[in-house]
């Protein structure tokens, strides 16, 4: 089937009429080119939008307290309550498949008064009391020193990890940061590390101006008692936090004597729901790209089929002779099919190569001109390319089927008589 003579013949047939072969090949070339470019553009858009989510673990909800809106067990509505440290433990005990349950407390905020002092420098920063897991829910690079660890939590050490923005406003350029002390609301904290967030969001500057301290030390230093301001809860990768969050709320509601149907008492923001909406959008976009690309490719395939019909017609006599000499019908069918598949694959490969070149050039332009909003690194992965190749082989086969059948439909005696 794949002998040297067969390949020689395929090449002979396809090269007898170069111009026609090229025109035919162009149909397939163009189809696969459009398909790949569409997919790459979709991917670029997707990458751009997903970049806005940064490295944040997207399977996360943030949860805080609001006023109770239903009377329950003799307690009135409009009541305020606080999360307690016990709630954290209760959630961990009662809800499965949660990866992190991080209680957080916070000082300061947007436009707050100066709350941190070092020597003669002062600034207004967000100060958090956190557990070590927060670094996985809000990923950041530690550029100097280390992050908070459990020893800090247990010993209630007054240590702090500061952002690069904090460092810039409290320290001189060349000054050593690790081992110095900063005063947060009059309480001295030892600086043990400097972080940098990779997020390139609009508020990136604000994100570098945060200070992380151990949750326990924070509560003690600022008289939080066992109160918890809010929580960041992340589910295990295989489970969706959107499915698990109701059971989390249930635990909290039971602990605080809140009516089970009270939907307002616990406020939350579901990052995953947001994220999945965007993921769905891009899935739809990809579907459209496949649809349009495949249709364009289809017209190319029809072109190949058409030309193969003409080739078969032209070679009717030759095919007749070969059958008279004893070539089996299957061999002739195979020959026509292979010609068709070969033509499709070669032109398809050229299309893929050309599309890759264009994508490379776009990436090159993006790299040299700086980032463009909502569009980053358009690309197709090897999976898409193999799907495209599969489509090509199948369509080459389809394109050759009818011509191959035509080739053996004519009886050899009639074929030879054709002058």
């Amino acid at each position: 089937m794949f002998s040297r003579d067969r390949w020689k013949e395929i090449l002979e047939v396809l090269t007898t009429n170069w111009f026609r072969t090229l025109l035919t090949a162009f149909g397939v070339f163009w189809g696969i080119f459009i398909l790949i470019i569409l997919l790459a553009a979709g991917k670029g858009l997707e990458n751009g939008v997903k970049l806005d989510f940064g490295d944040t673990a997207t399977n996360t909800i943030f949860m805080w307290t609001q006023t109770v809106s239903k009377p329950y067990k003799g307690l009135p509505k409009g009541r305020r309550y606080n999360f307690k440290v016990d709630d954290v433990e209760a959630i961990r005990q009662n809800v499965d498949h949660l990866r992190f349950v991080s209680p957080r407390n916070q000082l300061g905020g947007f436009g707050g008064a100066n709350n941190v002092i070092r020597g003669i420098n002062a600034g207004a920063f967000n100060v958090y009391g956190d557990y070590p897991e927060i670094i996985q829910q809000e990923p950041m690079d530690i550029v100097q020193g280390r992050f908070i660890n459990y020893a800090d939590i247990i010993d209630k050490r007054k240590v702090a990890v500061i952002g690069e923005g904090v460092k810039a406003s409290l320290y001189d350029k060349e000054e050593e940061v690790i081992g110095t002390y900063i005063k947060i609301r009059g309480v001295s904290f030892l600086v043990i590390g400097v972080y940098k967030k990779k997020n390139t969001d609009g508020d990136s500057e604000e994100a570098q101006k945060e200070i992380f301290t151990p949750f326990t030390a924070f509560s003690q230093a600022f008289n939080m008692g066992d109160r918890v301001g809010w929580m960041a809860i992340t589910a295990e990768d295989k489970y969706s936090i959107s499915d698990l969050k109701e059971s989390v709320f249930k635990v909290v509601k039971e602990n605080h004597k809140i009516h089970p149907d009270d939907t307002r008492a616990v406020g939350h923001f579901d990052l995953f729901e947001d994220y999945s909406r965007i993921v769905r959008l891009f899935a739809a976009l990809r579907l459209v790209a496949y649809f349009v690309g495949t249709l364009v490719l289809l017209s190319g395939i029809i072109g190949v089929s058409n030309i193969m019909l003409i080739v078969v017609k032209e070679r009717t006599k030759e095919i007749g002779i070969r059958r008279a000499l004893g070539e089996s019908p299957w061999s002739i069918r195979g020959q026509i099919l292979m010609e068709s598949i070969f033509l499709t694959i070669i032109s398809g490969m050229a299309g893929i190569a050309f599309a890759s070149l264009v994508i490379y050039l776009i990436n090159y332009a993006l790299d040299s001109n700086g980032p463009v909003d909502m569009f980053t690194n358009p690309s197709v992965n090897i999976g898409v390319v193999s799907i495209a190749l599969t489509i090509l082989i199948v369509s080459g086969l389809l394109a050759g089927l009818i011509p191959a059948q035509n080739a053996i439909k004519v009886r050899p005696v009639d074929a030879i008589r054709t002058e």
Partner: protein, 233 residues
């Protein structure tokens, strides 16, 4: 070698059918050189096509080398054609983008003979027809007589039981016709069975036996004194 009994064949032409072969009884022994003669429309080409398994009879028996030829599917027919028969056509029917040697090697390729062996055999048969030096030439670079000789080499390459020639000299002038007939006689001298369809009496008389067809029946079947073509070359 060939046994035919009561062979009938008719073609449908629109509403009426044309009865071409009306009961042919005919046999050929090994090593014979038979000419089938007749005017156009006498059914000689139809008979040859049926003998060549390119066409199928409506009724009657056909045995080729004691194998019954009946209800063959295309794959089987192709296989039998390849193994049993060699064809020589009036219009040569060489494949024009293949060289003389590739053309001769073609039937061997369908027999799945290895590449080296194919080339060796093809050259051997080209040498027999005196065209070894032309092995690398395309059919378009050969004269009519040379083309027919390549075609004969191709027909012989598969070492068939029977060689079927349909007007092998029809497209040639008389001098080249005799050259071709000389070649056919030589092949016959080596013991090969050959059937030649022709309407030229001089060509027919270069065979050993002439079968006259008229209106689909055998009119006369006679043994003749063979005229050697070499006398005219």
């Amino acid at each position: 070698m060939i046994e035919i009994k009561n062979l009938h064949k008719s073609y449908k032409m629109g509403s009426n059918s044309l009865h071409v072969l009306k009961g042919i009884d005919f046999s050929v022994k090994e090593g014979e050189l038979v000419a089938i003669m007749g005017s156009s429309g006498s059914g000689k080409s139809t008979l040859l096509n049926i003998l060549g398994m390119l066409d199928e009879a409506d009724s009657g028996d056909y045995h080729l080398d004691k194998v019954e030829i009946r209800n063959l599917n295309e794959t089987k027919a192709a296989n039998y054609r390849n193994k049993f028969l060699g064809f020589v056509f009036q219009s040569f029917n060489l494949i024009n983008y293949k060289t003389a040697m590739e053309n001769v090697a073609l039937p061997l390729y369908y027999q799945k003979v290895g590449r080296k062996e194919r080339q060796r055999k093809a050259l051997k048969y080209l040498e027999q027809v005196g065209l070894k030096e032309w092995a690398g030439h395309l059919p378009s670079e050969l004269s009519g007589g040379q083309k027919q000789r390549v075609a004969i080499a191709r027909a012989m390459a598969a070492e068939p039981k029977v060689l079927l020639a349909d007007e092998p000299t029809g497209a040639l002038d008389s001098k080249t016709s005799y050259e071709v007939m000389d070649l056919i006689q030589q092949i016959n001298d080596q013991g090969n069975t050959i059937l030649v369809v022709t309407h030229e009496p001089d060509i027919a008389h270069m065979c050993k036996r002439i079968v006259h067809l008229r209106d689909g029946v055998i009119e006369k079947d006679e043994k003749v004194e063979q005229v050697r073509a070499s006398a005219y070359v």
